[in-house]
């Protein structure tokens, strides 16, 4: 049988310091929890199309730490780490999240998996300390050169709409 076509991730901004990413999955939530917390599985998806994950360390207990390292396609390496604050198996993970390029900025992420039977609705909530930190986070999720392109686009009073 053909796999269901993927649903898009929806990004919203509940407040000036928050990001909320919502996505439905065609799988029960215990499998998403496993894929989210098992190093060998994390390596297969977490890098997306932007690079390959070379390190995925997970010490899944409250107070335990996680650390991911990705080699981006452009050649440079980026690393993230944090500490688990709350773990409810198959339901919820609260953890801190630090991009090691900006080590003094810490976000708090909450993963929530809502049981929809054979399907699951995932909410990934990211709370930053300031709007500036949040906006920098969003900008970091973009392809290389995209920011410059946006600046340019802004300059030329966009006739594309």
């Amino acid at each position: 049988m053909e796999a269901a076509s993927s649903s898009p991730a929806v990004v919203t901004f509940p407040t000036d310091t928050q990001i909320l990413i919502t996505r439905d999955f065609d799988a029960p939530r215990h499998l998403i929890f496993r894929a989210w917390t098992t190093p060998d599985l994390i390596k297969r998806w977490w890098g997306g199309e932007r690079g390959s994950v070379t390190v995925a360390e997970v010490d899944l207990r409250v107070g335990g730490t996680w650390r991911y390292v990705m080699t981006a396609n452009a050649g440079f390496e980026v690393a993230f780490h944090g500490e688990y604050r709350e773990i409810v198996p198959n339901e919820r993970i609260v953890a801190t999240d630090v991009f090691e390029g900006v080590p003094d900025k810490e976000a708090l992420t909450t993963l929530t998996l809502a049981d929809m039977g054979a399907r699951t609705t995932m909410h990934l909530h990211v709370l930053h300390a300031s709007q500036e930190d949040r906006d920098a986070h969003i900008a970091s999720g973009m392809e290389d050169g995209m920011q410059e392109a946006m600046r340019a686009l802004e300059q030329v009073a966009i006739a594309l709409l």
């Binding site: 998403i32 496993r34 297969r44 709007q131 999720g141």
Partner: protein
């Protein structure tokens, strides 16, 4: 993204909650300033100050209509913001598409023979 200290671009203009409320109020069509004062429940000088910022970045246009000045929304300067967010959304979508493939495998493992439901 580096943020300039002034309100010189749309990113800064919409960072302020009241200004987003004004844009929301103008989505249905043009309105005089008094209308916005009533809707937002704040003093006219404050509404006028926000309108000035929105006009400076091109998000709001104004035209004279008899004795009234009517303000209207121009959404074009929002496009870079929209695109900027879309870029972020896309990088997550790409991750989740890969996660879908992992999940499909895990499901097949659980079902034992891989025949699915």
């Amino acid at each position: 993204m580096a943020r300039s200290a002034t309100t010189a671009d749309a990113f800064n203009a919409v960072a302020e909650g009241r200004r987003r409320q004004i844009l929301d109020a103008l989505v249905d069509g043009e309105r005089p300033v008094n209308d916005l004062v009533t809707r937002l429940g704040i003093a006219q000088p404050l509404v006028s100050k926000h309108l000035r910022v929105l006009r400076e970045v091109g998000l709001v246009d104004v035209r004279d209509h008899g004795r009234q000045r009517l303000y209207q929304l121009n959404a074009r300067p929002l496009k870079p913001i929209h695109d900027w967010v879309k870029g972020y959304e896309r990088s997550w979508s790409e991750r989740f598409d890969l996660l879908d493939a992992v999940l499909l495998e895990l499901k097949e493992e659980e079902n034992g023979d891989g025949s699915g439901e």
